[in-house]
């Protein structure tokens, strides 16, 4: 069974929701990423979304754009990210890891080569934000042949027809983008999210994660009340930026915020 399904099944028996932190691999330098992943698990993360830096992050706001620029200043490549996951797996064989990024680095490596390398590194799921299901047949086939979960985005603009299409292609979980905008955008409307999740659940039994606009214990708790998973990205990456490359401070700050979110969600 995939680590992702296993994770959601286990949480369900405990009546808990998944906390999914996102950080960009190699931000602010490659040495921090694996220790930070372990620190996030200790602080209550259930699944880790690891960002693959890309030169043109069209769907990201300024906070995650700058994270990608910091990582790329160290020339962090997709192969480097896979090596980080492999290193993480030496100590943690349970926590699912989802790679999140853009299609082109995967395209250049080649879908089959990438899927093979990803499963060997210990990756569980892959989310390419600029790849809608209409263009994804080949990559989905390559991922599924290696038992990797293709994760897809759903948006406020997705209608019933698209929700069906996306959920049919996805496995593991689906990721609902709670606001129209880029990562780090504000103004989360929990009631609108609840309504959309009800619409999504008419079409799928997959767990539904919600991200964009979750920045503290309060917003995490509000989303945990209606979703299966809470995804936090820009709020964490902002902590990394503020900690100015001090590794201990980064780990402490991120763990602190995750523990607050966890406490809010588990009330």
């Amino acid at each position: 069974m995939s680590r992702i399904k296993n994770c959601f099944d286990k949480l369900k028996t405990k009546n808990r929701k998944a906390l999914i932190p996102y950080v960009t691999a190699g931000d602010p330098d490659p040495g921090i990423t694996v220790p930070l992943m372990h620190a996030m698990v200790s602080a209550g993360a259930d699944i880790i979304e690891l960002g693959v830096p890309f030169s043109d992050p069209m769907a990201d706001g300024p906070v995650i754009q700058r994270a990608a620029e910091r990582a790329l200043a160290h020339h962090v490549s997709l192969r480097d990210v896979l090596a980080m996951v492999a290193e993480f797996r030496q100590q943690d064989n349970a926590t699912p890891v989802v790679l999140m990024g853009y299609l082109n680095p995967v395209e250049v490596m080649g879908y089959a080569v990438f899927a093979e390398a990803a499963i060997q590194a210990g990756v569980d799921g892959v989310l390419t934000v600029d790849l809608p299901p209409e263009e994804a047949d080949e990559l989905v086939a390559a991922l599924k042949s290696q038992q990797l979960d293709p994760i897809f985005l759903l948006a406020p603009t997705s209608d019933d027809e698209r929700i069906k299409l996306i959920c049919a292609a996805a496995s593991g979980y689906v990721y609902y983008v709670a606001v129209k905008g880029v990562t780090g955008a504000g103004n989360l409307d929990v009631r609108a999210v609840a309504d959309k999740l009800a619409q999504i659940r008419k079409h799928t039994d997959l767990p539904v994660g919600v991200g964009f606009g979750i920045k503290d214990a309060e917003s995490a708790a509000a989303i945990a009340a209606v979703a299966d998973a809470v995804v936090a990205g820009s709020a964490l990456v902002q902590k990394i930026e503020q900690a100015a490359a001090q590794h201990d401070r980064i780990k402490t700050e991120i763990a602190g915020l995750l523990m607050q979110m966890r406490a809010g969600m588990d009330v």
Partner: protein, 443 residues
Amino acid sequence: MPEWVCLLKAGVINAKNAKKKLFCMKYESKVANVSQPENMKVGDKLIGQAPDDRGHFGIYGGKFVAETLMVPLQELQDAYEQYLTDPDFIAELDADLQNYVGRPSPLYLAEGWTRYLGGAQIYLKREDLNHTGAHKVNNTIGQALLAKRLGKTRIIAETGAGQHGVATATVAARLGLKCVIYMGAVDIARQAINVYRMKLLGAEVVSVDSGSKTLKDALNEAMRDWVTNIDDTFYIIGTVAGPHPYPAMVRDFQAIIGREARQQIQQQAGRLPDALIACVGGGSNAIGLFYPFLDDKEVTIHGVEAAGDGLDSGRHAAPLCAGRPGVLHGNRTYLMEDDDGQIIETHSVSAGLDYPGVGPEHAWLKDIGRAEYVAINDDEALQAFHDLTRIEGIIPALESSHALAYATKLAPTMDKDQIIIVNLSGRGDKDIHTVAALEGIEV
């Protein structure tokens, strides 16, 4: 056993060539496995065949965007398809092109320059005489009319040289729409006059400081704006790139260049030309000229990319000549990228060609062999800029100067009774400061 291990054992690939070989095989297999229109040969009917209903030109094009944009793109496609055949819309568009833009633009036999080059007769399609000084307005007029039909109140656009920004700000001013233009900080510095023109026209010009601070980053930022403000905002993309339906829609608005030229050359010379030449950045002026001639297989087609300091220098903007396929800005096409799939910075003396991608239809025309793509370096373009100015009294844009420079190579290899049409896509007023600075002159 994974495919690449089998290939390695079979000796098809080795450690040295593995990456390139696997990449090529992947695309060859895609090309081989698909039916119409991907495996079309030159000579088949091409007009109206591509893209398919998902926006694919062979393996290129498509819609590679985050989910939030998929429904808005479908709405745009539906609207575009509806209005393209709507007599009222077409009548309004035609009237604007005639009375506001000044179309048809002349097709001019450059006799002095023809004599100077000593070969084929060279006709210039004078897009530089359009209102706002370039071909860009053909497209912005069309998209702005669509925006009005869709009830959008806010227009956004990206711009490199500033020509598309000016053309967008112009139509927004005329229709009373709010207008925001995204422009890389580097381009703002080298195109100060166009920045001021946009501001005069009432547009807000937003400086983009991310990435390489040029056109590609301006496009990223415009996309981010669009995804955030989808309800009231219409994004006017300025070239034949981006997610479907933009490459097809912009082509259709620009194809008036080729339709006019095809008619004009038959009136003036009594026959079709032997060759077409146009510069290619994103490729909108080129596809506009080429498209109506695609089925005239006796007409050779030449797209000219920017070789910057030279293709061997690595400092250029020639993805078709020296790049490889990948996915950026919503479509699959030839890109300038490194081995990790990161987009690399480009260089050209002309801001309008300084872009790491190219329209997917050009990628397709290259692969099927219908068009040839070459590159001209900065020095050659500057020489053509001066030559045309002195010999014909026409100051061309630095972008168009790349097409002119290739004509100086092609024309002498042809007979005197043969004909070349060069798309003079824009006028050079905006480039005066750039050229003067390169020559150490303070204006």
